[in-house]
Symmetry: C2
Amino acid sequence: MTTRTAPGPRERLLEAAKELTYRQGMGVGVDALLKAANVARRSLYEHFGGKDGLVTEVLRLTAAEDEAAYEQTMRAAGDDPRRRLLAVFDWLGEIIEEPDFRGCRYLAAELALTDPEHPGHAVTRRYRERVHDLLEAELRRLGHPRPAYAADQLLLLIDGTLAVGATRPGTHPAAAARQLAEQILGEPRRS
Amino acid sequence: MTTRTAPGPRERLLEAAKELTYRQGMGVGVDALLKAANVARRSLYEHFGGKDGLVTEVLRLTAAEDEAAYEQTMRAAGDDPRRRLLAVFDWLGEIIEEPDFRGCRYLAAELALTDPEHPGHAVTRRYRERVHDLLEAELRRLGHPRPAYAADQLLLLIDGTLAVGATRPGTHPAAAARQLAEQILGEPRRS
DNA sequence: TGGTCGATAGACCGAACGGTCTATCTACAA
DNA sequence: TTGTAGATAGACCGTTCGGTCTATCGACCA
């Protein structure tokens, strides 16, 4: 039986950091993280080597989760690549409406991590390319003439949606983006 | 004759803060700002009341500058609203290519200023609405059936362009956005 | 039973943070 | 010439920062 073991300090730290680095930004103090996770100071340095290691691991973790969320969203939309791609924007619309939505975590991280050598940058860059490739694969299945370029455009719409969702709540950027996405995908193929 | 007086401490501080808050983020230390501006510590608190007052004033200043840059870009593009709107994306393309481009200052500020009561938020919000209204006015002149909604979409493309420009250099988001913008504007009117 | 290892609490470190203060200097006006 | 206002340098304040360290605790295993 897969009994759920009580999460250890490492898991508690990751969970607390995931939450706090998003809500409070990358500037959260170590003390705040430790208190939120109920973890001894030493454990942080044992497991992650320092704050940078922790936030990098958080980025890695959430990137995997979000990547899976893209895949799950498309899987739930069925087989038609057109429907699958448009479903992404419906999903974004839901995310934006969540009360504690604060914009794209990865964009915020890249803007906040001043040091270009911070290992977090590599994680966010890889994440973006993975999403790009997911989109491109669908576009290819759709028979789009320029799948890579169209994926660039869809990614631009996604980033725009998340940015506007954070800065102009009340407008409905996901719906506006979805309409533009339809034009990228071209006329629906009438079988 | 309009002899250019040597800039006083206030101007030097604003200029240094404009530069450093963009390059290093809102987390720059007061000491770094003072050193860069060659200004006494006391002067900062005399003129701006504190760091928050300074960065808010910087946002106000750059918002006015950027607003003027939008207007100038459109003015230089002539009278046709379609050309004027598309010129914005050409201009964004130039901005993104600048070697020290680091993304949208206002989005970065909004993500970095955790405290929702920080006066900077009001400045960035106002700025966005001003740009929106500039776009909407052109769309109205163009005879667009839904100028406010189309302005939402253009603003989304702008934010997406700046985000992608910061996170995926090498791709050419401004050109990709421009093409989508053309579709928002509709078929060019053949006089 | 004793040993080991992971975790705990928390003192402690030097550095940097934002902000206040005194004292001095300089330019300009009365 | 003297007074005044604005700017200067920089000491100083308490707090917080990320990070290190010691000491203790408790669970599991030999």
